[in-house]
């Protein structure tokens, strides 16, 4: 490992830690700015109509103690951090006394298993298509470009809705919602796994489709830019084979695409989470949707914290990968 790389990694780790802390603080503070007291609404729901003023007060005090809201702001923050690190994320407001981890525990894995492969496949396919379009530059490129631009303008949820209506509702090729047949109990049987795979298709392809468009457009213009660069012209004059030149061009055009993925992954995950809710896929998007509709702030902030951390880790990993493929970082000249 060169000195430059070490410096680069140190810088990246520093920013990872700083943003992580900032994310935790924001997740703590923002929900506490909300108007209205969550305890009042729970007490209002649970208390019997004939209760006296003292009983109501008693109940409020009880729940405030349960949620730790009777402590000062630093005490609450300490609880929040503690709960985040032991993975329980505290007690849910709307489904008291269930733990937040109980509610969203399995949804994380559904989301990871859906979005990670889908975004990667979409990114790869998009880059391949973009590079091909740039290299061919023929009629197809000219004709397909506006079409691709239009399709990449369709929002994530729009693509999801169209896929759902065409393939699930009308053609009945795939199930309409969920991650497996509602009558099934998760197990390692062939029947269950095939049901999971059938339910996986539409959400997966809708996320792939969304990511292809944008990536292809970006990769195409990057590749065109590189193909017009002086080193390519020089290499052509030298008589270097096209195949070899294309390899250089592709590699150089890839670099900004890796950074681009690191930067856009947050937005992509956001779009994909909304797409999840269209298919009622039991991931974080769905948990968040349910929590938002029942004003369950601990669940919302747990979901957002998990998403933020996932995005942070993804972009951190991409930064590390970037260091290995960018010769400039290796050569210790990186800023």
């Amino acid at each position: 490992m060169t000195k430059g790389m070490r410096k680069y990694f140190k810088k990246k780790i520093f920013w990872f830690v700083i943003t992580f802390i900032a994310a935790v603080i924001l997740n703590f503070i923002l929900p506490r700015l909300m108007p209205g007291d969550p305890v009042n609404s729970i007490v209002g729901k649970n208390i019997s109509p004939g209760a006296t003023q003292e009983q109501v007060q008693e109940q409020i005090a009880y729940y405030q103690h349960q949620f730790g809201l009777d402590k000062d702001i630093f005490g609450q923050f300490w609880d929040f951090v503690k709960n985040a690190f032991n993975g329980t994320f505290g007690v849910s407001y709307s489904q008291y006394p269930r733990l937040v981890s109980d509610i969203i525990g399995s949804s994380i894995w559904w989301t990871v298993a859906l979005q990670l492969p889908a975004i990667l496949v979409g990114w790869l396919l998009g880059n391949l298509l973009g590079a091909l379009a740039a290299y061919k530059r023929s009629f197809y490129d000219k004709a397909l470009m506006p079409v691709t631009l239009f399709f990449s303008a369709i929002p994530a949820f729009g693509a999801a809705v169209i896929l759902l209506v065409v393939f699930a509702v009308n053609l009945k090729w795939a199930p309409v919602n969920g991650a497996f047949d509602p009558g099934m109990i998760p197990s390692f049987s062939w029947k269950f796994i095939s049901s999971v795979i059938a339910h996986y298709q539409l959400p997966f392809w809708s996320i792939v489709l969304i990511s292809i468009g944008g990536q292809a457009v970006g990769m195409r213009s990057m590749s065109i830019y590189e193909l017009n660069a002086d080193y390519v012209k020089y290499a052509r004059f030298l008589g270097i084979k096209d195949k070899k030149i294309v390899r250089y061009v592709f590699r150089n055009a890839m670099l900004p695409q890796v950074t681009g993925l690191a930067m856009s992954i947050g937005a992509m995950v956001g779009g994909a989470l909304v797409a999840e809710t269209i298919f009622s896929y039991p991931g974080l998007g769905m948990s968040m949707y349910a929590a938002i509709n029942s004003s369950d702030y601990p669940v919302i902030s747990a979901c957002t914290l998990i998403i933020t951390v996932m995005v942070l880790i993804a972009s951190f990993l991409l930064d590390i990968i970037y260091a290995f493929i960018d010769p400039r970082v290796k050569a210790a000249q990186f800023d």
Partner: protein, 420 residues
Amino acid sequence: MKNTLRNVFHSPRFLVGFIIFMIILLTVLIYPWFVHRDPLQGLGKGFLEPGTYLSVYDANDTDTYRVELPEAAANRLEASLPTEDRQMMIDYLKAMGVDVSGLDTSNEKMEDLLVAWNANYDEADAKKNKYEGFATQAKRNALRRLDNKIKSSNSNVTMSVVKGEGDDATVKTVNGNDFVKVDEVANSVNLPLGTDNFGRDTLTELVEATGISLLIGLIAGSIATLLGLLVGLLAGYVGGVLDDILMFIANIFTVIPGFVLLILIYSALGAESRGIVTCAVIIGITSWVWTARSVRSQVISLRNRDHVNLSKLSGHSLFRIVTTDILPYIASYVVMAFILQVSSGILAEAQLSMLGLGPNPNELPTLGLMMNWAKLFGAYTSSNAWWAYFPVIMVIALISFSLNLMNTGLDQVFNPTLRD
């Protein structure tokens, strides 16, 4: 300036994008002059299919004209014989031993089917109870009713309409070839995109929602661009500690997804306090980071150019240097960033609304709210009401498409290396 504008409008991409965007904008502005309906007013209950709706009562009361339409009987049959009935006819013919290989339930085969039916159906025959699948009384009655319907479909049939009650009742006879003129019917409504789940006219609602969403995009885009420009200029031109602090904040917010921030702020606000402008402003102040970073890096590269140094030596004020020596160089970039911010602002609103975090739904419709209502009331699945969501998706796609086209067009004008 004039020259630049001419170049920009000579770019085909920009021009196409600009035209699409202007068409959308003009539609939003002009439509209310012609249709005065309140976009949130419910006209009926639930989803109505697109089409023109005439009041049956008024149609009966309107003067009738005799029109001899040659295909009237066929049309009436086509409309009154659903697929199930046609299938039953085919099943019966099959049971009778007729060759049904050339028949199906489509409108094109209607005539053949009727010929075969009239040749082979015989009520007395059916009563003999010898055909498989048509042995029960209920089935035989169904067949008889079907036969009656077919026999009485010619244009000479009449129908009696009774108006009023008791002794005051009048009877009006309607002939099979009596027609009313659509614009003479007292009450009719044209719903080109049907109604949504609340019974609202989807087209009127869509136009209004498009306007609101464009407004949200414009407000969010302006705020994001202005903030980004300000921060970028300060960080880039002033530099020093200010640069460090601003970039520290910017670095944090580049990695924390803006989407997550929006969810946290919106859910903290509560539905009642989320007005249109509030929503737009919040989207704006959470998405300035990219503009700020790019402006900063461009300003840094401009800061030490000769013309800027000359300005400094001449003792020009900071404001003058920034406005005359720096801004013109980054103006094209800022315009492009603004266009992208508008498009992503509209998208952000739509996505948040889909999660149930949209602007207050009782005030005004937005594109995102319309999508969310379509989802909540089963337009995709149970109701299969394409008119409630598909036009919305297309409008969102067209807006982003036109803005993206304008952006790539500008990019090609200002970055000649990208030119085709």
